[in-house]
């Protein structure tokens, strides 16, 4: 008999930090010690705390281990499975008491979440349909096909108040009804799994960790809208998700949960994968459909909306991964139950991807109406290294920054919009005092500028011009009129662009201007970057009194611009040639190198008479002054 299950996270995050090696080492160790008949190793989807990976959960005791490497395995097996006590060094520590946390339930990161969409992620083996069925999987589909009329399904989804999780928050039931009422056939349903926002990975977790939920949701949707064919459009950058979906689809066909005459209802449903080539714009629904059709991924004007004329000119319904994954839960537990969760206008829960300057990088699922502070500080653990929180970018490159004074805002579609940002798909990039807001705006804008498909000039030309202005400002060449130009142009791009990409691309610029205008002014008027990020405004100086002459900085310098002061155990940065990369600052163990911005009273120290190449560097003609 199996007495313990050892759930090893096999989400992409944990795999890249060594999850596969851990799993192999664990299976091997259990076999060597003859425990393989008592203890089962299960690979699951993402458990959430990606930063702590590879993570592992042991049942029945619920012990949670973090940062487990293959090297820890012998000791861990000996302690936990043979001697029966948790292996202390790998337990998470409580934030406040610093005592080891024994079980997953007691770990703040999990305790404060409400997992609905992610209920199976990290609990079941995503490559085994049995485990999904054991957790009531396909039950909702069975009930729907055996007892409900399509219109009843739509009514239930409407009553639940489910809104599209892709970003815009359009009521799902209303959208379904539009497609269902279109008399043209065949109709199609599509799952948008082209998750492309920088710092967003919540869809990946569901695709990798609970693929059957998406299949079940789409089949229910197909039935409700009279569509017999579905496509999952997924980006090629998610190879593991593609693999797990392929396995899941094959298993569902094998058990007769996809294909002809499902649950003897006469309803047929087929599902196919379409793999995208990684263009951000293909997450836009009209571009996505063109891409499925095998054409160049470029958006089209709407109307006609997909419900009117979509894939191959037929009525089509497109929903996000998270929306589809919520459908079986709503149908299983009822609209009544679901609509109690969340706020008046935004029902249910939302998965947020926490990234950037935050302790617990990973996924957090909370009901709508939870405050940003609770998500970032309560679950995310706040900003690491004792730095100060500055702002959070919600909604990816299409969203905006929300500064500290608005942290107590309850999060839903409308509150974020009121702050100038958007919910988007749920990415949250946290920034601390070391982040320059001009640079942040520049980063996200550059992303959109690169990803613009080029079809409409406001987006193609407008984002480029916005980027040029931001570049100028960050180089210290900005002028005050640039701020007006930015605002005017941003508004124009928003209003005139064809699709969501261009319509939202200026959001980071507009929100940083709104909340951090002083930083723009510092760059323009004082030529100063307050966060000391914009390279062209920086100076690097070695302080004589702190420098011990160890030469580490000089060896690190990629452009050989750090010299030994002739006859002394000191070093000197030749500023004319410095590229401001900052690797000397990072390498100095004595904090002897100061980074200062223009406008902060920086004085370049006098150049010593003789400069020598540091030891180990090739002598060149530059050696003496």
């Amino acid at each position: 008999m199996i007495r313990a299950h050892c759930l090893v996270c096999a989400g992409a995050g944990c795999i890249s930090s060594g999850g596969n090696a851990l799993k192999d080492a664990l299976s091997n160790e259990l076999q060597v010690r003859g425990l393989d008949e008592e203890i089962r190793v299960v690979e699951t989807g993402c458990m959430g705390p990606c930063d702590l990976g590879p993570v592992m959960l042991v049942h029945p005791d619920g012990t949670f281990y973090q940062r487990v490497t293959a090297l820890d395995v012998p000791k861990l097996v000996e302690e936990h499975f043979i001697k029966g006590r948790p292996y202390q060094p790998l337990l998470p520590k409580d934030e406040v008491t610093t005592a080891a946390v024994n079980t997953q339930r007691d770990f703040g990161f999990f305790a404060k979440q409400q997992k609905i969409v992610l209920e199976n992620c990290g609990t079941i083996d995503p490559e085994n349909i049995q485990e999904y069925i054991a957790r009531d999987g396909y039950r909702a589909l069975g009930d729907v096909l055996s007892g409900l009329k399509p219109a009843q399904v739509i009514a239930e989804i409407k009553a639940a108040g489910l809104r599209g999780r892709g970003g815009a928050g359009f009521p799902t039931g209303v959208k379904w009804e539009l497609t269902a009422k279109n008399p043209v056939t065949p109709r199609y349903v599509i799952c948008n799994a082209d998750e492309g926002d920088p710092g967003a990975f919540m869809n990946r977790a569901v695709l990798e960790g609970d693929p059957h939920k998406i299949i079940e949701g789409m089949t229910i949707g197909g039935y409700a809208m009279g569509a017999n064919h579905g496509y999952i459009y997924i980006r090629a950058e998610y190879p593991l998700a593609v693999k797990r979906l392929q396995i899941a689809i094959a298993q569902a066909y094998e058990l007769g949960l996809l294909g002809k005459n499902l649950f003897s209802s006469g309803f047929d449903f087929d599902l196919e994968l379409r793999i995208g080539a990684g263009a951000f714009v293909c997450g836009e629904e009209t571009a996505l459909m063109r891409s499925i059709e095998g054409r160049r991924g470029q958006p089209q004007p709407r109307p006609p909306f997909p419900a009117q004329r979509g894939l191959w000119g037929k009525p089509t319904n497109i929903n996000n991964v998270e929306t589809w994954a919520t459908v079986p839960i709503v149908m299983r537990r009822g609209a009544q139950w679901y609509s109690q969760i969340g706020t008046a206008k935004s029902k249910g829960t939302k998965v947020f991807a926490l990234a950037g300057k935050i302790k617990n990088t990973g996924l957090a699922e909370v009901p709508y109406g939870t405050t940003l502070r609770e998500i970032i500080f309560g679950i995310g653990g706040g900003v690491p290294n004792g730095k100060k929180f500055k702002a959070v970018q919600t909604g990816g490159p299409s969203g905006g920054v929300v500064p500290e004074q608005h942290l107590d805002t309850p999060v839903d579609y409308d509150t974020l919009q009121a702050l100038g940002s958007i919910m988007g798909s749920g990415g949250m990039v946290i920034m601390d005092e070391d982040s320059c807001m001009v640079d942040v705006a520049r980063f996200f804008l550059e992303f959109c500028c690169d990803e613009s498909c080029g079809k409409c000039p406001p987006c193609r030309v407008g984002t480029r011009q916005l980027l040029n202005i931001l570049d100028r400002i960050s180089h210290g060449e900005g002028e005050l009129e640039d701020l007006d130009r930015l605002e005017e142009l941003a508004q124009m791009v928003k209003d005139a662009s064809l699709c969501g990409l261009g319509q939202t691309a200026p959001n980071p610029v507009l929100t940083t201007l709104r909340y951090f205008r002083d930083e723009y002014l510092a760059h323009i008027v004082e030529k100063r970057c307050p966060a000391r990020v914009c390279k062209d405004l920086l100076h690097f100086t070695i302080q004589d009194e702190k420098c011990v002459g160890c030469s580490v900085c000089a060896r690190q310098c990629p452009v050989d611009t750090i010299f030994k002061v002739g006859g002394q155990k000191k070093y000197y940065i030749l500023e004319d040639e410095c590229i401001h990369c900052g690797s000397c600052v990072d390498s100095c163990k004595f904090d002897a190198i100061v980074k200062a911005s223009d406008g902060e009273g920086h004085v370049t120290p006098q150049r010593p008479a003789v400069l020598e190449r540091p030891p180990g560097r090739k002598p060149t003609s530059l050696v003496t002054a």
């Binding site: 008999m1 007495r3 299950h5 043979i82 029966g84 485990e131 069925i133 054991a134 058990l255 649950f263």
Partner: protein, 122 residues
Amino acid sequence: MNLAELQKLKEKAQKQVALREGNKKYRVVVSMGTSGIAAGARDVMKTMLDEIEKRGLADVEVRVTGEIGLEDVEPVIRVERADGEQTTYARLDAEKARKIVAEHLAHDTPVENLAVGKEKKP
């Protein structure tokens, strides 16, 4: 596939994952410290696992723990019932372990002549 078949499949599959759900009626805790292992606690546990599986008892989980504190009467196990009743058995071997499974776990009757302690925890 129809609803009845799905239900059957679910019941079968639930056995595979039941262990992750918790809330079992019985929890068997095996003392697996150095002295326990030396006295044969692993054999006792393995026998119990076998027997539980043979009898298809789904409402039982088996855990191991460190020294319970009864070193000279090892192997020791403690059977904890969900309502808080705890029975400690000592000086076990494979034969006795089987008996505990058959009587206590399968039929709710503690094996009085093997028990060395009994208490009720809230």
